[in-house]
Symmetry: C2
Subunit: 423 residues, 2 copies
């Protein structure tokens, strides 16, 4: 226990409009900066014996579930007209904390629903430009050496609405919820390819899923270095909605390429030009041309608390908190602004910062009750800085829908309400 | 993609009875070491169009669940006679991989069932030897700065059966399943205590839960430095079975002290001598005296694959995989033996190795089909080495039940069956 007295530095300004030094509330008592609103002169008598202490609670269960009081912490979803399983569901990022997404809330993007795969009947074929085609049962694959890593997956279409001319009034789940992070365990794809014996002219891979859409994407062969055929997600077998019994994990690459229900890897000379890399998942430019095969997710960040739909209960100290991520590697810095980008203060990053994983950032803020525009700006290990929305639109126009990674702005109004604005 | 040819080093012996170098299967093609049993001359025609590819799959759900084919991956539980909620449930470690335990499978130890707590009615009181007692609603607490860390929790009674004179035939879930690991997010207890203003004579804390047992433990005040009042587990709110809406997290300390449904922290001069630290959670020595207040979990490891209940399908290459952990800090090394401790080879550790978190280790092994006794031995950052069972029994006798951390031995029989032995 740190018994030293709090000092003036606890409230040291780090940037304009109330942003405090990131070490403020960690080094000094929060009482000194006005966090507590609790009454004094309390004792044990002030604690009620609540109804749930008066009788034994419920028994053990084989597989646990969240509290019934958390029924709003669910994914929201939308499907294409006439379908129930061609669409996406979104992670409620504004209701979560930390960096891991629990498996029940990992976002989904399906093209023809969730197949009900019998793992004993499922096969993975590796063929094409290989010396020795291989067909794996799950049991055979599970004998291979495994690797474990934490990685985010973000849909290439996440935050696509932020290309629009007017700032849409969406909550964080609707604007950024095609983003999740998990601990994945599986077999290195490179090991399987080496065993099959890749032929020299092979430069691409086709990855195909066992859903009714046969969803498939072309993957440059160099991506195999980091790729896993993932069998486990957050410790347990990958769930049906995330590819049971196996999915391709391509850390940092747009979500659609992380093919679920993986059944086939074919080594090819060039890309296969599948539906999802020609009619979709390309970036339409102002010239009318499209950028194709843009794979890594660009460095990006967003503030989760506060965010639209949340109302601050009054002036005072808050902890601004959010997520930063990069498909290129590690986040090196996240800065926060409370004045729409005029001044910036560095946020604290949760350690250890892992490459191609979500990074949680935090910064204390004293809201004076006046107008504020909150922004976050991430920098990755290469020095690349998340662009302003204006800079991104100048480059890509506003007809694009994929790979939006611009700085996002939340305006705090006089009653504490938070709105999405372009600033 | 690594195109280099596999070399002889792929099968280099690292210790007796078939243990291979930990880098073997990562650096070289597995084909060269006989992992694959797949037929050759395959093509796409060899892949069946399975039933689940012939029609659209199931629709989106708000909160996902595991595959129906994974119905055996559940916790097992036992309660005291006449109760349904005074006992423990165990994590199926032999069916999991990686290091994170999914929330639905985190082990539980309840003393009077799982209370159904309304988070709006719940309060946390901080009182006793403080200048300013504080009473927190969940909403007030959630405004405080948060921290996120990955930590294991192990029940002090985990593997207690291994003190017995005969090697019990238990699977890993039964022998070691009171052990789980999650990413926890919450408020630093030290920050709350500092705000309340701890008086100089306070050296201990009483932590009390809001279950019908009012389960409570005394905690030395220095533990507050690392302690969290945890509100989130693996990203979502802590579940009822793990303390909803808040629990004490004391990284590295025996599980029972990580008080669930936390309602009260009282600063005291000495320990309160609660039921669970006097009649239980003490270590009975051969002399008849008991060790009391043994808090940190000693450095320990166990092999999860293979483990009792699993049968190896035949001679060949396998990846031995398991978990290591220490309540004192980081794991620095895990060694594996296939000959009952005569020779040892260093296993690969999953990076990053985090303090007071589960660490996954892996090592390739060529089983020749003959008898083998598999063991793992962990070393922590201080140089402490996990003791043999004999050494532990010599010190503590066999009437102890808590804090067993001896080396555990799995014998592989000629038909590949795995049994628990004392070796």
């Amino acid at each position: 226990m740190n018994r030293r007295r709090s000092t003036g530095s606890a409230t040291e300004a780090a940037a304009g409009n109330g942003l405090l030094d990131r070490r403020s509330l960690l080094a000094a008592g929060a009482g000194s900066v006005g966090l507590a609103g609790a009454p004094s002169a309390l004792g044990a008598a002030d604690l009620s014996i609540e109804p749930w202490m008066r009788e034994p609670g419920s028994p053990f269960t084989g597989y646990g579930q969240p509290s019934r009081f958390e029924s709003k912490t669910v994914r929201t979803s939308a499907s294409a007209p006439g379908t129930t399983g061609a669409g996406a569901s979104r992670t409620p990022l504004q209701r979560l904390n930390g960096t891991i997404t629990p498996n029940g809330l990992h976002f989904e993007r399906h093209h023809s629903g969730i197949p009900d795969i019998d793992p004993d009947a499922h096969r993975l074929l590796i063929h094409g430009l290989v010396n020795r085609p291989l067909l794996f049962t799950l049991e055979a694959l599970a004998r291979y050496p495994m690797e474990t890593r934490i990685a985010f997956i973000e849909c290439g279409g996440n935050s696509g609405a932020l290309y629009q001319k007017e700032a849409a009034q969406l909550d964080l789940q609707a604007s950024h919820g095609l983003l999740s992070c998990a601990e994945w365990t599986g077999v290195r794809l490179a090991l399987l390819l080496e065993e099959a014996g890749i032929e020299p002219q092979a430069r691409w891979l086709l990855a195909e899923g066992a859903d009714a859409a046969g969803m498939s994407r072309s993957v440059p062969i160099k991506a195999a270095d980091e790729a896993l055929v993932a069998l486990y997600q957050n410790g347990e077998r990958v769930r049906p909605s995330n590819g049971y019994p196996m999915r391709l994990l391509l850390p940092g690459y747009e979500g659609n390429m992380n093919v679920k229900w993986l059944r086939r890897i074919k080594a090819t000379e060039g890309p296969t030009m599948t539906k999802d890399e020609t009619s979709k998942y390309t970036i339409l430019l102002p010239s009318g041309k499209s950028l194709q095969f843009v794979f890594p997710i660009e460095t990006k960040s967003v503030i989760a608390y506060p965010s639209p739909g949340i109302t601050l209960p009054g002036a005072g100290i808050y902890e601004i908190s959010g997520l930063a991520w990069s498909g290129y590697g590690k986040i090196s810095q996240v800065e926060v602004s409370a004045d729409g980008g005029k001044s910036w203060a560095p946020a604290a990053l949760r350690e250890p910062v892992l490459p191609k994983a979500l990074t949680r950032f935090r910064l204390p803020w004293r809201w004076d009750g006046g107008p504020a525009v909150l922004q976050s700006r991430a920098t990755d290990g290469s020095g690349y800085v998340q662009p302003t929305r204006d800079a991104l639109i100048t480059e890509r126009g506003s007809r694009a829908t994929y790979h939006f990674n611009g700085i996002t702005s939340w305006a705090v109004g006089e009653h504490g309400e938070v709105r999405h604005v372009y600033a």
